[in-house]
Symmetry: C2
Subunit: 221 residues, 2 copies
């Protein structure tokens, strides 16, 4: 049996800090351009790398984009998909086009998070659910997000792009796949509520509606 | 432009608490059976529901499994897939079979997290990457995981099951899909390192190997 360490409990104020990060984290789109200190960026990547992963496969790879021309190309890719998304939305096209959905050219740091190549040899926890690698990468990004809030930085996850074209732009190996363009940087403040709630795009669902006991929650889809 | 709130910075000890939760969180498989207080479980579900989601779709649904017979059925499903996974692993079959991969019958609470039905109407951020709903659910689960550590509880994410059969067992609506069987409860302590590292299944990858600047990290797949 695997040994376990009786680590000290979290003090009340430590526990409160964790909940505070969860409550105040926002998917940010508005940034100031001033640089992020290298040690802070390193801590955020450390946080990502200390996420859980299915079968301990650690599928996450990171490309920090400092080249301005590359950023411009990424921005163009995102903008193209933004228009395609708007068209696919039909009656909400104009409403969507008014939203700010990324901050790639404004933020201090852009980090692309991608799934590694050669993932199919990882069978543990993925035989019936191969997309658990996506889930692991998302856990890594959520760690970064919370750490960024604790560092006083804002982060936004952009998923509005053609993954094959972004992979080609960054010369990813075959089988690798970008999941996120992360915009990271200083912010003037955080949205008091999720931006898409403030903009009237959607409302938070009532929590009770989402939870069932021994069966699917009755009122939920 | 969306208004922003200049929220107070995290104090040093608050920031440290967030990193502590990230560092000490473990994917737990060993549990004590004593019950989890209802208000603690409610806080964990609150944390999940305050995760980010693509286009604010909030795709997560939760089924708390308190029925012992239902748990037994879930355990049987998981055990069946455990054997199938072991066989698919080939030369590592025996090594895998020795690992403890779930704690469904031991832990205080079992919570199934599933993707909601009728997801295809959510196009925002998903037109080219439909599995961003899986990513959102994973962010919710990571929030729960960190909150559980802060509460002194252990949590494990089991993804070793046939999702269609688990969906049928819990009478999920068509289109819904279970992603996680979460085992949650009191623990005697936390593994000092990820259990699969302690058991020699895999090692943590060197962080430098995972990070590239303007290009794919050279030494990584």
């Amino acid at each position: 049996m695997t040994s376990r360490q009786p680590l000290p409990d979290f003090a009340d104020d430590e526990r409160a800090a964790v909940y505070r990060a969860i409550a105040e984290r926002r998917d940010m789109r508005h940034f100031r351009p001033d640089p992020v200190a290298p040690d802070v960026l390193a801590r955020l990547l450390w946080a990502a790398h200390h996420a859980p992963s299915v079968g301990y496969m650690q599928p996450w790879r990171f490309v920090r984009v400092t080249d301005r021309a590359l950023r411009q190309c990424m921005h163009a890719l995102i903008d193209e998909e933004r228009v395609a998304t708007a068209q696919a939305l039909g009656e909400r096209e104009q409403e969507f086009m008014r939203l700010k959905v990324e901050g790639v050219l404004d933020c201090a740091e852009v980090v692309v998070v991608a799934l590694c190549a050669d993932r199919e040899r990882h069978v543990f926890g993925r035989r019936t659910m191969p997309d658990m690698d996506v889930a692991s990468c998302a856990c890594a990004i959520q760690n970064m997000w919370l750490a960024a809030r604790a560092e006083g930085l804002g982060m936004g996850w952009v998923s509005i792009f053609d993954p094959a074209r972004l992979a080609a732009l960054l010369a990813m190996p075959e089988g690798a796949r970008p999941l996120a363009v992360l915009c990271l940087g200083h912010v003037d403040g955080y949205y008091p509520a999720p931006m898409l709630e403030m903009e009237g795009w959607a409302q938070r669902l009532p929590e009770d509606m989402l939870i069932g006991e021994n069966r699917w929650p009755e009122d939920a889809q």
